[in-house]
Amino acid sequence: MKIVKRLLPHPIFSLVLLVVWLLLNNTLSAGHILLGSVIALVLPWVTASFWADQLHLHKPGLALRFLLLVLWDITVANIQVAKLILSPRRKLRPAFVRYPLDMDNDFAITVLAATISLTPGTVSIDVSGDHRTLLVHGLDVDDEAALIAEIKSRYEAPIKEIFGC
């Protein structure tokens, strides 16, 4: 068990590397599986010093559900933004919103910021130095408090649960 841990410090990262390598070459031949495995083993080891504190996936099932939710929201977001762009007379109400963060792990915040950028009418801009607030720009903000509450329950809560932080 210890040897496995030393060889595979980031098992999920290694698996993703192998899958990406096989997808890149669009093949499942033995040679590429071998080469991909070597890359998957060596790369995490070489880059180990760049990794900050490691996060563990506490709930893989929830992570998958979250991914599907985000994909669905991206689709809805596109249609909403398309409507906003095309409707001629509607006055947009863009706004900068300060979003209070409940977690302080760099990786979890990165995931949340990326999710915010990909979903309905919001782009994350900046995180404050103390990791307390995230500056978000909304394309058409009706009610700041409602937007914050929605991000909190829809995205931040699952992310917190997935990484257990």
Binding site: V20, L23, L24, N26, I74, T75, A77, N78, I79, V81, A82, I85, L86, L92, P94, A95, F96, R98, A113, A114, I116, S117, L118, G121, V123, S124, I125, D126, S128, L135, H137, L139
Partner: protein, 107 residues
């Protein structure tokens, strides 16, 4: 039948890419324009990639490259939008609404 499905996805994809570009022209300031490339085009590109996947897979060879394009796009789009916005805020690029003050030190 397959041709029809592919065509629908192609038109859908092109349509969303077009809407994204129209957004770039019509939206009032830099910060709102940022929403175009991160949103309207992700779905446009997604639809185009599905069309590509269906087309090449129907010719005998399973093609999954497109999944990688999607993956890389979803990783890079938020980062580039984030950096553009941060740079704009730092340079105090004109905005329709008041810029947030204390996040960026004035020169």
């Amino acid at each position: 039948m397959l041709d029809i499905i592919i065509s629908i996805f192609l038109i859908l994809g092109a349509g969303f890419a077009l809407v994204g570009s129209i957004g770039l022209v019509r939206l009032p300031d830099f910060y709102t324009r940022l929403h175009g490339p991160t949103k309207a085009t992700t779905l446009g590109l997604g639809a185009l990639l599905i069309a590509s996947m269906v087309y090449f897979s129907s010719r005998g060879e399973v093609s999954l490259h497109e999944l990688l394009v999607t993956l890389f796009l979803f990783m890079t789009a938020p980062v580039s939008a984030h950096l553009l916005a941060k740079a704009a805020l730092h340079l105090r690029v004109r905005s329709e609404v008041d810029l947030p003050e204390d996040d960026v030190k004035k020169p």
